[in-house]
Symmetry: C2
Subunit: 552 residues, 2 copies
């Protein structure tokens, strides 16, 4: 590690490369044991660091999950409970914490953050001020902000990727849609990639012009240009998220392979749980549970992952040549998984492992991490852990950020010092914003259309605000096929986890305008008397004792 | 009610007069049955409206309680958990809600609000901007902002009340202290009113120059000057809060009276509860439990209340003359009570009725309220109910403010239409900021030094984060002398209330950047397809059905 003429503390890394995929399941990688998909570049990354095999997101949909990654806070604390829900302007993000360490937090790709325009107006923050730019970009310095979903109904006027595609010979108002995310079908017709029937055909654009290639190029350009500046680069791919189309040759790379059988049983369809039943009956649940979806869409999904792996190979080569692999913490993860027909569901928004468990690979290049290189960790890890990990890796303190950061740094695990202090992970799933909510008829207060999952080493407990609660014994039933909530043989397991979840709710830090330091300073013996608030003293003699801190 | 040439809806009132005392116990009024104190003016008010006999604050100390009154939100939602804890700039206050109804929200007196200076800097809100003036004054238009505690160690440079006292012949840097809140003791020495031994002597200033007189004058001046402008005036007295000194003749008006016996038993001193024991052992607990405190301080406390009643008499006469009693909702309440040695405690900060129960009188002058005039209501009422009551009284909608306002309007009760929908009240008590916290030795995370009380019609359940939980049966034990938490004869009462409290925690609206309307609009069938996010459609035919809202 070259730290000549640097202000970075000896023990600190210079940079963080924070790579995120969108909707990538924990098991859709070679290194996590996929039966046909090979991801040699990501696997090589795992060989250099620690692969956390039990890593979980804190929200079951893009927006809420990402805000947990970016703020280091649980969903109930940051409040952006679903896509398009604005993040409160008072929520500090990665950019806030890392700029205090003189590190630029740079974005290439997606955040899915919605700025709180109502608060901006109320507080009269000029929309062209640096502060609003910072807030409205979720604390990132937007090298290239592209949320990746650009349907014709709401195409940004000046999307750089569309300009790029036009420059490459793909004209039109929205070549993102008509070229990068559409196909020519068997009849020779242009067909939108949104439609599932498009999945087996190659995207109109070639691989080197795909979103994945383009974002990788932007990241490489940034890293080259940054030189010795310190940075935290968030390379945030939209893929393998919908639309399910991929350029040749990835479109039929897995078409002939035997896909793993879906994790679902007929018994599941007999559930009386109103939310699960509605998820089954929803358009998306039905579409993704069709046999032909499995046959046509899953190979394309795997092709999209393979494409990411290939482009990451380019990025990693570049980093190596620049020497950046020696001074950069590298993270590879996802914002949530995807049902892909498992449990008769599609997409995300609910609490099964297919959704809430994600890939998580972390490489610390320092010698202290040599003993854990190439290992797999079974520690329970959460999205909120990454920001404290970055703070510590870059030489900052987490102790003074306790009212903000709710996760724990993974550095001690990477350095083989100890395991995490965590006994369980929590993920919050709001389904009330989904059209499927209409399958339930009248329910209580819209904002309580949600469930909270607590998962420990063995059990998964789901507190469902509507319908009964759920309990899975993951040792006995890793596929989550048997709800044991009403099973008397489970004894007090559900009640105990319920109580743990209550404690978890009460321990959240909604209130960030005060710190432990303020509490301790305020309660110091003699403090009130010294401030002149002389309550509880009979006379001058007692007051003198109070001033000396002897009467409290 | 004269509403000629007015834009106020027929059904709406023009104004709100929101009178608050500080540290006034629910039982320290004539109309609530005090054995020696007479408060004819407040009693007359009760005769014109409804006296809520079971009204509770949501926080057990000034700052947190007041922020619940001013935001209409529970403490865990607004986050300002103790005195001097800044209120987040994103918390909407009374001033936000009422200005939407074209009503000025005006302050005369105390708010105990601390502005969030750190957020101001981060958001680059100019400190001299109208927006910051609004935020830093807690949404009030400060006719006279005076938090009433001005120890020499931190006297504001330009306190109007000090200027006033100087103009009246009381010189010095801080006549608030040396004149309004000091006495000449038996030895002819000037003695600070902070010291309890000062209680039996008259304040240096005469009654007509007291803080209570001065604030009443400011309120009267404002009301006269406002004419037909619509207003919500918060007249917020610092008294009967410490320092316990009062001008003649109030200083010895009750000196000869037999004071009611304190509510405490020797058995209470045997408690093993670490928090209660620490409250007993604290300086304030010990000071207020002395027999001489009861003898000397309680009469002064009653004198301070009597003084308020007399000055309110002046105010009410003025309102009557101006015709304002016909178009103004009038509220009289307090921010919390005072132990005054009951339970061997002093001050507040804990969860007994002496602290959490407050006077609450509400007068609606409209004819719809005629049937409830002069009645006493046993409905469970909370501080958070006032703001929705004001919104409704002034002609606004509460339905569209649901993500903000957590209480319920009392107008239906005042109009005799129905009771409240509330089954219990909640009050949160943080004691970690108190010097007494040092009596507990090491405890867990400082911010969890707190308790949450749930009180229903019969029981009071206290979830204490440190030490065991508590249960009182108020039917059998209105004095809260017998903790029944471990009493097996209580069956599942504690467990049931614990679960109710968990539901209450989960129903809180920390997240205010989205509304029920947004949830319902987002989940409308066909909405995603129409926005162009065409997830879950196999082909064009399905998409058409989706666009028609038929496939969800």
């Amino acid at each position: 590690m070259n730290q000549l003429e640097s202000n970075v503390p000896d023990a600190a890394l210079r940079n963080v490369l924070f790579i995120m995929c969108d909707q990538l399941r924990w098991d859709a990688l070679g290194c996590s044991g996929h039966p046909c998909l090979e991801t040699p570049n990501i696997d090589r990354l795992a060989g250099k660091g620690v692969r956390f095999d039990r890593a979980f997101v804190n929200g079951a949909v893009c927006g809420s999950s990402r805000m947990s990654y970016y703020t280091g806070r649980y969903v109930v604390s940051h409040g952006a409970r679903w896509n398009q829900v604005p993040l409160e302007v008072t929520q500090k993000t990665m950019g806030d914490h890392l700029r205090e360490l003189d590190v630029r937090t740079v974005l290439v790709g997606k955040t899915h953050m919605r700025a709180d325009e109502a608060a901006r107006k109320r507080l009269a923050i000029p929309s062209n001020s640096p502060e609003w730019m910072f807030l409205s970009e979720c604390g990132f310095d937007a090298e290239e902000h592209d949320d990746g979903l650009h349907p014709d109904a709401r195409v940004p006027m000046d999307l750089p990727y569309n300009r790029f595609l036009r420059s490459q010979g793909f004209p039109g108002d929205n070549p993102w849609h008509t070229a990068a995310n559409s196909v020519i079908d068997a009849d020779g017709e242009l067909c939108s990639g949104w439609l599932l029937r498009s999945a087996p055909f190659p995207a109109v654009v070639p691989d080197e012009l795909s979103e994945t290639a383009y974002m990788t190029d932007r990241a490489i350009e940034f890293i080259r240009r940054a030189g010795d500046d310190r940075w935290c680069l968030h390379l945030s791919y939209i893929k393998p998220h919908w639309p399910y189309v991929v350029s040749a040759p990835y479109h039929d790379m897995y078409a002939g392979e035997a896909m793993p059988a879906p994790n679902r049983t007929e018994a599941e369809l007999k559930t009386t749980h109103p939310v699960i039943r509605a998820l089954h009956r929803s358009r998306i649940g039905r579409a993704m549970s069709r046999t032909e979806t499995r046959q046509l869409v899953l190979p394309t999904y795997l092709g999209l992952v393979k494409q990411i792996d290939d482009h990451l190979g380019r990025l990693f080569s570049e980093l190596e040549q620049l020497g950046r692999l020696d001074d950069t913490l590298v993270v590879f993860t996802s914002d949530h998984g995807e049902y892909m027909g498992d449990h008769w569901m599609g997409e995300k928004d609910w609490i099964n492992e297919e959704v809430v468990r994600v890939p998580m690979i972390v490489i610390d290049p320092r010698s202290q991490a040599d003993n854990t290189r190439g290992t797999t960790s079974n520690e329970l890890v959460e999205a909120v852990d990454l920001l404290p990990t970055f703070v510590e890796a870059l030489g900052g303190e987490n102790e003074t950020r306790k009212q903000w950061l709710e996760g724990e740094s993974l550095i001690p695990v990477l350095h083989g010092e100890r395991g995490t202090r965590r006994e369980f992970v929590v993920c919050e799933a709001d389904w009330g914003f989904l059209e499927m909510a209409n399958h339930l008829g009248e329910t209580k207060e819209p904002r309580l259309r949600r469930a909270t999952m607590l998962r420990d080493e063995r059990f998964k407990y789901v507190l469902s605000e509507i319908g009964s609660n759920l309990l899975y014994d993951l040792d006995e039933d890793p596929d989550e096929q048997h709800d044991r909530f009403d099973d008397s043989s489970m004894g007090s397991v559900a009640a105990d986890l319920h109580e743990q979840l209550f404690e978890w709710f009460r321990s959240r830090h909604h209130d960030t305008t005060f710190s432990d330091e303020m509490i301790n300073a305020t309660s110091a013996p003699g403090r009130t008397a010294k401030s002149g608030i002389m309550i509880g003293y009979w006379d001058e003699e007692e007051l003198s004792a109070g001033m000396r801190g002897e009467l409290y």
